[in-house]
Amino acid sequence: MKMTETIHLINQFIQIACLSAVAILSVRRSGWLFRLLAGAFSCYLLGDVFYMLHMWIYGQFPSGFSVAYLSYIGTYFFLITIDLWLAGEWTNEQKKTMRPYRRISMAAPTVVVVLHLIYYIRDGGFFINLLFCVPLSLLAYYSLLILLSGGAQSGLGAPPWWYHGAVLLFVLVENMMFLSSSFGSDTVYTAFDFLMSGAILLMYWAAAKEATA
C-alpha cells in the first residue's frame, strides 16, 4: 500500500471514530436538534464505512456512482432539515427580519456553484456534480441566512451562531475536498479530509453549546 493511501486510511479511521462518538452522544441527548444531528452523523458514518470497506474488499475506492455518495447527500439533507425546522419555528415578526438578508445569503450558494463548476470543468461527471451541488448550495444558503438574521435579532431568541458557523465550515471543507481531488494533490486532499473531522466535532460542540445556552 502506498504512503498516501495509508495516511488516507488512518484519516478515515479518525473520521469514523469522531463520527461514531458524536452520533452516540447525539442519540443519548434529547430534543429534536440532536435527533436530526444523530441522523446526519450516522449517515456520514455509514458512507465512510461503506467507502472504506469497499477499499479493503476490492482493493480500490468506488469509481463512478457510489452508494456512499448517497449517504453523504443524506447528511446534507438532514442538516437542511435542521435549518428548515429552526426557520419554521420562527414567528412572522422574526421571518420579516430575515428578508433583507436573503440577497446577501445568495453569496454562499454562488460560491458553492462556482467551486463545483471548476470541479466539473476539470473532472467532468455532470450528474454526480449536480447531486452534490444542489443540496450543498441549499445548505449553505439556509445556514448563512439563519446566521445573519439570527445575529440581527438578538433578544428574540437564542441565535444559533456557533452551530451555523460550523455548518458553513463543513460545507466549505467538503467543497475544498472536491476541488483538491480534481487538482490531483493528495496532500491537500488529506489535509482537508483531516479538517473534516474537526468540522464534525465543532458542529456537535456548537449544537451542544446552543442547547445549554
Binding site: V27, W32, R35, L36, G39, A40, S42, C43, L46, G47, V49, F50, L53, H54, W56, I57, P62, F65, S66, V67, A68, L70, S71, I73, G74, T75, F77, F78, I80, T81, L84, W85, G88
Partner: protein
C-alpha cells in the same frame, strides 16, 4: 426456472382475503405486508432492467448488487409509506408499524424466492438467510419508519427529511450487500451485522422508553 410472480400469487391470495376480513390495526398491518410483497415483486422487475443496463455499460454483477440494487429496493419500500403519510395523515405509531410491515413483506417474498431458487434442504443455509437478509430488511424498515415518523412532525420537513432517511436506509442495505458479496471473514461479518444493528436499536429504544 422459478417465477417470482407465481410465488407472489401464492403468498398474496390468502393475505388479500384477510385484508377484507380483518379490521383496524390488524387490517392495516396485513395491507402493508401485502404492499411489501408487491414492492419486492416490482423490485425484481426494476432490478432486472437496471442490471441489464449496468452490465451492458461495463459494470459487473457484484457491483450492480452492491451499488444499484439497494437504491431501487429502498425507494420501492418507502413509496407505500410516503403515500400513506401524504394522503391519510396517520399517527406516528402507525407510520412505524406500516413501514415495518412493508419491510417484513419484502423480506418474506425475497427469502421464499431465495429458498425456492437455491433449495431448502440445509437448515444452516435457511437460518443464515433468515437471520441476516431477513433482519436486514427489518432494520432498513425500522430506519425508514422511525425516521419518517420523526420528520413528519413538521410537514414542511417531510420532503428533505424523507430523502435523508431513505439515503441512510439505502447505505445500510448496501453495506450489508457489500459484505455478503465478499468472501471469508467479510461475509461472516455481513451475516452478523443485521443482528448487531437490531440489538443496538432495541437497546436504544428501551433506554428512551
Amino acid at each position: 426456472m422459478i417465477y417470482l410472480e407465481n410465488i407472489f400469487v401464492c403468498l398474496a391470495a390468502p393475505l388479500l382475503i384477510a385484508v377484507f376480513l380483518l379490521e383496524g390495526e390488524a387490517r392495516r398491518f396485513i395491507g402493508f405486508f401485502l404492499l411489501g410483497l408487491t414492492a419486492c415483486l416490482l423490485a425484481g422487475y426494476c432490478n432486472g432492467y437496471i442490471e441489464q443496463a449496468a452490465v451492458s455499460g461495463g459494470l459487473d454483477y457484484t457491483q450492480f448488487v452492491v451499488q444499484f440494487a439497494p437504491v431501487c429496493e429502498e425507494i420501492l419500500k418507502a413509496l407505500p409509506v410516503l403515500f400513506y403519510m401524504a394522503v391519510f395523515e396517520p399517527k406516528r405509531r402507525s407510520i412505524v408499524s406500516s413501514a415495518l410491515a412493508v419491510g417484513l413483506g419484502f423480506a418474506t417474498l425475497e427469502n421464499v424466492n431465495h429458498i425456492a431458487n437455491y433449495g431448502a434442504v440445509e437448515l444452516p443455509f435457511a437460518l443464515v438467510r433468515g437471520f441476516s437478509a431477513g433482519i436486514m430488511h427489518a432494520i432498513c424498515a425500522a430506519i425508514l419508519g422511525y425516521g419518517l415518523a420523526f420528520v413528519y412532525q413538521r410537514k414542511w420537513l417531510a420532503l428533505t427529511g424523507s430523502f435523508a432517511v431513505i439515503c441512510a436506509a439505502t447505505t445500510f442495505h448496501a453495506t450489508y450487500n457489500l459484505l455478503v458479496s465478499a468472501q471469508g471473514v467479510w461475509r461472516g461479518l455481513g451475516y452478523i451485522l443485521p443482528a448487531v444493528a437490531a440489538a443496538a436499536i432495541m437497546t436504544e429504544l428501551r433506554i428512551h422508553k
